[in-house]
């Protein structure tokens, strides 16, 4: 073997290597240290490594976060053309790890399914099958998930021509096989298959639920998604790093600001630029307001679904005012496009702090109104309490994050587990509940809104009156306009940034933040060009929707509707 001394590994990577050396896998797994400890394994070793990572007491990587298929066709210095990149989190150790399953060239890309180790892998593997053409032997339901059944090819392969169009007709849309079976052998006259959606008012987006019901109870269900799929990840590959930002607004469009912050943080970490304190605080304040908005929409819509219409307006009124604040900052209410790599598009208006304070005054009133109307109302209790139950173990196994996970008793909040920006400076509580039912999720969200208000209040206290919001690095941030008009050098920087994009150094990075509905991760690969080589989003509601068909088994259709509301599934982010 080579005698060149490898650079020293970080503590977690060194620990994993130490633990691995006691197993027969030691010489077949390479441990590297990128932004995260990274394991490189062959597909044949993947099941054993997966079990080791989940079960070894020194690892305990129990939360499956993401599986990204990567096509290295146009990337230099990679071992194989295809790799499946898995991101895991260990709740006991509070650490992330990356596993790269290198799929050997010369054979169709295939790796064994990890579905029996982490049930959350189910839909992520279907996604990689659909978009990258990876095969997962052992997966019982390996079908396309985001693209429709008449789609030919794999969109995220680098040799796929994106200009092609595939049309799906009604005949191409397949119902699951089991739903047909029921029709054929309907022994019980009350057993029938019910199709809810795709365009149903209770789905709040375009989601198709196929449920088999025995009188009132759901005995089997399956959700079909992808109706809003526009391949954000492929679009990102054809844009500059900044040009992706308007697309991120359309992921979780209820709290668009948070997506943008999550994305630019990834790029900023790759570049190593520092943002002035004022810029970070603006992002934090508006992100927390967006979180309040997201929870307002979620609770309001959920209560509408179960018949409590009034709350909708009480919750939408603060949302309206927050939209006004966002519009005053950046010029748009919903699709804000406010952040830029290296800062913000434009400084906040002069009355920013005053408007924030006015909002802080008005929002608690509406929250307490809703609280008084709903929380102890027996009708609401009957609908929410004890329905949509998710136990702690199930929540972790299904890869849930955010309020869903916390309502099941796991106090995992990225803002606390890995404080980014200034979250460690603020005094706030993580809202949890051990019940794991729909009521618990409602209560967790209500409390999170109050905690967000508290965070904003503290952020405003330390908010500098004046100061820059952008980094002063002109390799990243556009120079000030006045300089561009006057100064040739500034104009050249401006021109290079617009025409070629920011030059992000080669490498890869996974950055994660707490979005309104869970851990939002961006896995970006740069080849040194002006745009991403590959950008993978870890959408928090993707595993939630995957879990939905398991949560509703045994309940009634009306419970399923109430549960769908508390999941907080946003179709724009789900289908990307």
């Amino acid at each position: 073997m080579s005698t060149v001394a490898a650079p020293p590994l970080s503590a977690p990577a060194e620990r994993i290597r130490g633990l691995l050396s006691t197993t027969p896998l030691s010489d077949r797994v390479e441990v590297r240290d990128l932004d995260l400890p990274t394991l490189e394994v062959a597909p044949s070793d993947w099941p054993a490594v997966a079990r080791f990572l989940r079960d070894d007491p020194g690892c305990r990587y129990d939360l499956f976060l993401d599986l990204a298929g990567v096509d290295n066709l146009k990337r230099k210095g990679q071992k194989t053309r295809f790799e499946a990149v898995v991101h895991l989190h260990s709740l006991p150790k509070n650490e992330h790890v990356r596993v790269k399953v290198l799929l050997p060239d010369g054979a169709p890309p295939a790796l064994p399914t990890a579905r029996d180790v982490w049930p959350a892998a189910d839909w992520f593997e279907r996604e990689a099958f659909d978009l990258c053409g990876f095969d997962f032997p052992g997966h019982p339901n390996l079908r396309r998930i985001l693209c429709h059944d008449a789609f030919v090819g794999n969109a995220l392969r680098k040799d796929y021509a994106p200009g092609q169009r595939w049309f799906a007709t009604e005949e191409d849309m397949k119902m699951p096989a089991w739903s047909q079976e029921t029709e054929a052998r309907a022994g019980h006259f009350e057993t029938q298959t019910l199709s809810i959606g795709p365009s149903h008012p209770a789905t709040h987006g375009i989601v198709h639920l196929i449920a088999r019901i025995d009188s009132e109870r759901i005995t089997r269900a399956e959700t079909q998604i992808g109706y809003l799929h526009r391949c954000f990840e492929k679009m990102a590959e054809t844009h500059t790093w900044n040009g992706v930002i308007p697309y991120t607004d359309r992921l979780n469009y209820v709290s668009a600001m948070i997506n943008g912050v999550g994305y630019v943080r990834t790029v900023e970490k790759m570049l190593g630029v520092e943002i002035p304190e004022r810029g970070i605080l603006v992002r934090t304040i508006l992100s927390e307001f967006s979180r309040i908005m997201d929870h307002c929409v979620n609770i309001g819509a959920n209560l509408v679904d179960i018949g409590a219409l009034t709350n909708f307006w009480y919750l939408y009124q603060p949302r309206e005012t927050i939209y006004g604040l966002l519009e005053a900052c950046c010029g748009a209410r919903l699709t804000v496009s406010y952040v830029r790599v290296g800062g913000l598009a434009i400084d906040v208006p002069e009355d920013f702090v005053a408007r924030c304070r006015a909002l802080l005054e008005s929002i608690p009133k509406f929250l307490s109104d809703v609280d008084r109307l709903v929380t102890n109302n027996r009708i609401v209790r009957n609908r929410l309490q004890g329905t949509g139950l998710v136990s702690k173990e199930q929540a972790v196994a299904w890869g849930l994050t955010g309020p869903m996970l916390r309502a099941s008793g796991v106090p995992y909040d990225v803002r606390r587990a890995r404080p980014y920006d200034f979250y460690d400076r603020f005094d706030w509580d993580v809202a949890v509940s051990t019940e794991g039912d729909n009521l618990a999720r409602y209560l967790v969200r209500m409390e999170e809104m109050r905690q967000s208000l508290s965070i904003i209040r503290q952020a405003i206290e330390i908010f500098p009156e004046k100061g820059p919001v952008n980094s002063s690095d002109w390799h990243v941030v556009l120079p000030p306009k006045d300089a561009v008009y006057h100064d040739m050098e500034s104009l050249i920087y401006h021109f290079k940034l617009i025409m070629e994009g920011i030059r992000v150094p080669r490498g890869e990075r996974y950055e994660w933040i707490e979005a309104a509905n869970g851990e939002l991760g961006f896995y970006a690969i740069s080849e040194g060009g002006g745009g991403p080589y590959r950008l993978k989003v870890r959408p928090p509601c993707f595993p939630m929707m995957a879990a939905f068909e398991k949560i509703i088994i045994g309940g009634t259709i009306s419970d399923a509707i109430a549960t769908l509301g508390t999941l907080n599934v946003i179709a724009g982010e789900l289908d990307r």
């Binding site: 844009h239 500059t240 900044n242 040009g243 992706v244 930002i245 308007p246 009034t310 009480y314 009124q317 519009e327 005053a328 900052c329 950046c330 010029g331 748009a332 699709t335 496009s337 598009a345 434009i346 208006p349 002069e350 109104d369 008084r372 109307l373 929380t375 102890n376 109302n377 027996r378 009708i379 209790r381 309490q385 106090p411 606390r416 404080p419 460690d424 603020f426 005094d427 509580d429 993580v430 809202a431 949890v432 509940s433 051990t434 019940e435 618990a440 209560l443 967790v444 209500m446 409390e447 306009k481 006045d482 561009v484 008009y485 006057h486 104009l491 401006h494 021109f495 617009i498 025409m499």
Partner: protein, 222 residues
């Protein structure tokens, strides 16, 4: 940093006898809703709803609506057809075809400047990208069309017409009066003196490259 709050414990899981009786809770709820009702009746002017289109929302000066092409004092476009906005546009909705300007001081000007308003996502990247202060946005958001072709706005519908006030006022732009941002002193508003055919002379001498429009005009599919 602080702790963890268990909302499941703080809010009792079991309702009290009075709460289970429906009626007291419903009356408590009615108090909230009737309170709102009375407040709305007696403070009807403060209602958050807007009676559009009679009444319009007062948007900020940063609103990102329909674009406007700024002009110099002599009414010609400030745009020099540098393609920066076309390149920066994430929705690829801007089509520019450059022409050779008769005045050598400008060299290029847009023969065609089309924005497909159905593709545009109103992100304001074009305003940020413009090095000549030539494109701004307005607060005009009332854009409705009878056909797709009609949604492609050319120079005639984008140019700021002298003497005619901009519909709904200016929106997103590089600087705002009274906002701490200084208007650029050299935003090329002053007209350049008429040329004396200098470019034609240069062309005759073969000192100018052959002019090629760089982008074909894309006709909207109807």
């Amino acid at each position: 940093m602080s702790g963890i709050v268990d909302v499941g414990v703080r809010t009792p899981q079991k309702l009290t006898f009075a709460q289970r009786l429906y009626l007291p809770e419903i009356l408590a709820g009615m108090r909230v809703t009737i309170g709102h009702l009375l407040r709305n009746i007696f403070a009807i002017r403060k209602l958050p709803t807007i009676l559009y289109p009679e009444q319009k929302r007062d948007y900020s000066g940063r609103f990102r609506g329909k674009h406007i092409l700024k002009t110099r004092e002599d009414g010609t476009l400030k745009c020099v057809a540098c393609y920066m906005c076309q390149q920066a546009c994430p929705a690829e909705c801007i089509t520019i075809v450059a022409g050779e300007h008769p005045k050598i001081a400008y060299e290029k000007y847009p023969v065609v400047f089309d924005i497909d308003m159905l593709r545009c996502v109103f992100c304001g990247f074009c305003v940020d990208a413009c090095p000549k202060d030539a494109i701004w946005m307005t607060r005009d958001y009332e854009l409705a069309f009878f056909s797709r072709g009609e949604a492609v706005f050319g120079i005639d519908r984008l140019i700021e017409k002298p003497g005619i006030p901009v519909k709904d006022g200016y929106g997103y732009r590089p600087y705002y009066p009274g906002d701490g941002t200084v208007p650029p002193t050299d935003a090329a508003a002053a007209p350049v003196q008429p040329g004396d055919g200098e470019r034609a002379k240069l062309r005759e001498k073969g000192l100018l490259p052959v002019f090629r429009p760089s982008a074909p005009r894309i006709a909207a599919k109807i």
